[in-house]
């Protein structure tokens, strides 16, 4: 998928992606020639169709997580998964432990239990990689943008 600025005949560059609500998927592109920006808005059905393939528009920032598609899309039972803590080898050389602020915990608690463990692990790993000691809602917002975690 490529976007072309017709006036400049230049390929537009990807800038941002979000899920602003009601199932809409939005991706922003900018023309490096004239600076014009445009947004692709996919309706909920189109967003779902692409999401069902397990691919990410704008590319993957994060390796595919175990059962990522299954956990994000299926209506599953709360105790289906036992998410192991990362091993010492995985966290070696990284600051830790990471703590969650009450506000971040509250936001996390809104995610279905079926997928919560996966989301928690992704944010914790992001915080460790960035040297962040406390996960707050702001950190979650930044991680979501940086990692392309729309919908999580």
């Amino acid at each position: 998928m490529k976007f072309l600025c017709i006036d400049c005949d230049e390929q537009m560059v990807f800038e941002d992606r979000q899920q602003p609500g009601d199932g809409t998927f939005a991706a922003a592109f900018r023309c490096p020639g004239c600076g014009r920006r445009m947004a692709l808005l996919a309706n909920p059905m189109e967003s779902q169709l692409v999401g069902s393939l397990g691919v990410k528009i704008g590319g993957r920032e994060l390796d595919e997580q175990p059962f990522e598609l299954t956990r994000a899309q299926m209506v599953g039972k709360p105790d289906a998964f036992d998410d192991a803590e990362p091993s010492e080898a995985a966290t070696a050389g990284k600051p830790g432990p990471v703590v969650w602020s009450p506000q971040a915990e509250e936001r996390l608690s809104r995610a279905p239990t079926f997928v919560r463990g996966m989301i928690k692990r992704i944010y914790a790993e992001y915080a460790r990689d960035q040297g962040i000691a406390e996960i707050t809602p702001e950190v979650m917002d930044t991680a979501r943008t940086d990692l392309g975690l729309e919908g999580m």
Binding site: M1, D9, G59, Q73, A84
Partner: protein
């Protein structure tokens, strides 16, 4: 009138790389299944013929012979094989995948049965509208994750219990590299023969290897007199084997003792394995 360059004329990077993402998914499956010696799918065009029961029996018998066996329940909407193998969740998520549940005799099992509450049908998040358009893609995606993300380890045989339907095997085939072949399960009746014939034809046309036919409920094994008496009219197993020029792997009588086939060695399943090993060799 405007004229456009083609996708490939525009030589800049495609940041989404959707094609490359799909290829990565395939590579993950290949990498994970590299330690699986043989993959066999158990199929039938018709529901209720005992596919899952046969899969569980086969897995049990092979495990009893010391083989490392995995079972992937591809019947997402009506999963049954996990319970026949006494496997249950929760599933442990580790760094590089999801550990399969352990069934009897160390059989490694993955099934949507571990993911759904009892009695809960398979449902998805997302918009209600046009659900039929993306449901198939999601189900294929879940099966891909079952193949690629489950830490199968080294297996002698991975058995895949397919859902009923003429196209179940052909839809799965692109996801499974180097599948050794399929076993078709039927009951003796003409109705079953017609249904399984379609499934076998679809599989053959898709280039899948037909390893043979197993006829289930092939008579009724009377526990009192020891004789096997007719249960269904017909000889679907033999006719299908003849039509497709494949071995009739086994004729398995209906056993009112139900679970006994799964838990203990049985002559017909043993015979099936002997034929299967010959076909695989």
């Amino acid at each position: 009138m405007m004229s456009f360059r083609t996708y490939f004329d525009v030589t800049g990077e495609d940041r989404s790389q959707l094609g490359a993402q799909v290829e990565d998914q395939r590579a993950q499956v290949r990498e994970r299944l590299a330690s699986v010696r043989t993959t066999v799918a158990v199929m039938s065009g018709k529901g209720g013929v005992g596919k899952s029961y046969l899969t569980a029996s086969l897995a049990g018998e092979l495990a009893a012979r010391g083989r490392a066996i995995g079972v992937l329940d591809a019947d997402l909407r009506s999963p049954t094989v996990a319970r026949l193998l006494d496997a249950s969740g929760p599933l442990r998520v580790v760094e590089h995948g999801v550990e399969p549940a352990a069934g009897r005799d160390g059989i490694r099992v993955i099934s949507s049965d571990f993911l759904l509450d009892d009695g809960q049908p398979l449902t998805w998040r997302g918009p209600e509208a046009e659900r039929h358009l993306w449901r198939g893609a999601l189900e294929a995606g879940v099966l891909r994750e079952f193949l690629a993300h489950v830490v199968w380890g080294t297996l002698d045989v991975l058995l895949i219990d397919l859902p009923p339907g003429a196209d179940a095997a052909t839809e799965l085939a692109p996801l499974v590299p180097d599948m050794a072949g399929t076993i078709a399960v039927t009951i003796p009746s003409e109705e079953s023969r017609r249904s399984v014939e379609r499934a076998m034809r679809a599989a053959r046309d898709a280039g899948l290897t037909l390893l043979g036919v197993a006829e289930n409920m092939s008579g009724y094994a009377c526990a009192e007199c020891g004789h096997t008496r007719p249960l269904f009219a017909g000889d679907a197993g033999a006719r299908l084997a003849d039509e497709f020029q494949v071995p009739l792997l086994a004729r398995i009588p209906f056993d009112p003792g139900a679970g006994s086939l799964v838990t203990s060695p049985s002559a017909p399943v043993g015979q099936l394995i002997t034929h299967l090993e010959a076909a695989l060799s």
